[in-house]
């Protein structure tokens, strides 16, 4: 079922600032993409914290993601294996 923007207005309100996204796109494109030949790429960044220039997590192509999603959904339906990597909590105290 599709979720409309009304269902999570906070995130959409902030992210739908298209000017900010265009600027974010521009900075990510120019400074985080593009072919690197060699030469020197200056690291100094002025006022860059105004926008997101994230060190992002690559989640891969659709084909790779489909396999990862299948695994994740299997984990979510089988609670115990999914929790295997989560911290084990000690029992509540009866103070």
């Amino acid at each position: 079922m599709a979720r409309s923007e009304r269902d999570h207005p906070r995130a959409v309100e902030s992210l739908s600032d298209s000017e900010s996204l265009v600027l974010s796109d521009l900075l990510n494109h120019v400074f985080d993409r593009g072919v690197v030949i060699s030469g020197s790429i200056v690291i100094g960044i002025a006022d860059i914290d105004l926008v997101h220039l994230d060190l992002d997590l690559v989640i891969g192509s659709a084909e790779a993601t489909r396999r990862a999603l299948d695994r994740a959904q299997a984990d979510l339906t089988e609670q115990s294996p999914a929790d295997a990597d989560l911290p084990v909590l000690p029992p509540d105290r009866a103070d």
């Binding site: 739908s16 796109d25 400074f31 960044i45 992002d56 690559v58 989640i59 192509s61 489909r66």
Partner: protein, 253 residues
């Protein structure tokens, strides 16, 4: 004088690879063309000021790339801020990678890049805030009801519960992102020649997807996206057409 590299084109076949008259670069310098091994490199001679990473420098770099795109050819974008000691050093580096660069140019020929920004579900927003080290105990209602006094378990059980919840919610964001990626991929698959995606897991998690499509297809691409429905997420912005910044990976060797 330092030479700043903007982009590359295939010299012999891109008759339009001539730099438009009056085109200026990141430092206000004239953009010019260097030829090496069948490649045309658009470069400028810059001073030290042009080397800094700034919004103005990004705009200047992108302006040159778009000028190339507007000529009807698809440039291979160089990473912003790449400066060589001079033309000779730039040409030497390009010559050493000419084969891989030509292959990369062939992969993007006739294409442009489109970007899709997707806002992911709101439950992850609260999660990141809770896990962000603010010290506020806002993880879950379940924990609030059953948690022991803070003075007892503040650095033990409560910490582990916080870590556990953060990991669960991070996983939820990844699953939502994967679902969104698959839904969008299915919607535009017929138009897409390349794809890459990034998950931004911050306080307002979002997914950015880049697609390589034919130059004539942006309108059809936007129409196709308008029909895509995603559970627990919304497309909030579609950008492009851009030069193919996200599709510049060079083959080994």
């Amino acid at each position: 004088m330092p030479t700043y590299l903007y982009c590359l084109l295939i010299a012999p076949t891109d008759a339009a690879a001539e730099v438009p008259r009056g085109l200026t670069g990141v430092g206000g310098e004239d953009v010019r063309r260097l030829d090496v091994d069948g490649l045309a490199a658009w470069v400028g001679t810059v001073g030290s000021r042009a080397r800094s990473r700034s919004v103005e420098a990004a705009r200047g770099h992108d302006r040159v790339l778009r000028a190339a795109l507007d000529l009807g050819v698809t440039p291979l974008p160089a990473r912003g801020g790449q400066v060589f000691a001079g033309d000779a050093a730039c040409l030497a580096e390009l010559a050493s990678k000419a084969g891989a660069l030509r292959a990369a140019l062939e992969r993007v020929a006739g294409c442009v890049e489109m970007t899709v920004h997707v806002a992911l579900g709101p439950q992850s927003v609260g999660a990141e805030e809770a896990g962000g080290g603010s010290g506020r105990s806002t993880i879950t209602g379940q924990q609030a009801a059953g948690e022991p006094p803070a003075s007892v378990d503040r650095s033990g059980r409560q910490y582990l519960a916080k870590v556990r919840e953060r990991l669960r919610l991070e996983r939820n964001v990844q699953v939502e992102a994967a679902s969104a990626l698959l839904a969008i991929h299915a919607g535009v698959e017929a138009l897409v020649r390349g794809e890459s995606s990034m998950l931004h897991p911050g306080p307002q998690p979002r997914l950015t997807i880049a697609h390589l499509i034919a130059r004539d297809d942006p309108a059809r691409y936007r129409e196709a996206l308008a029909a895509v429905r995603i559970a627990h997420a919304s497309i909030v912005h579609i950008g492009g057409p851009h030069p193919p910044y996200s599709f510049t990976e060079l083959a080994d060797g």
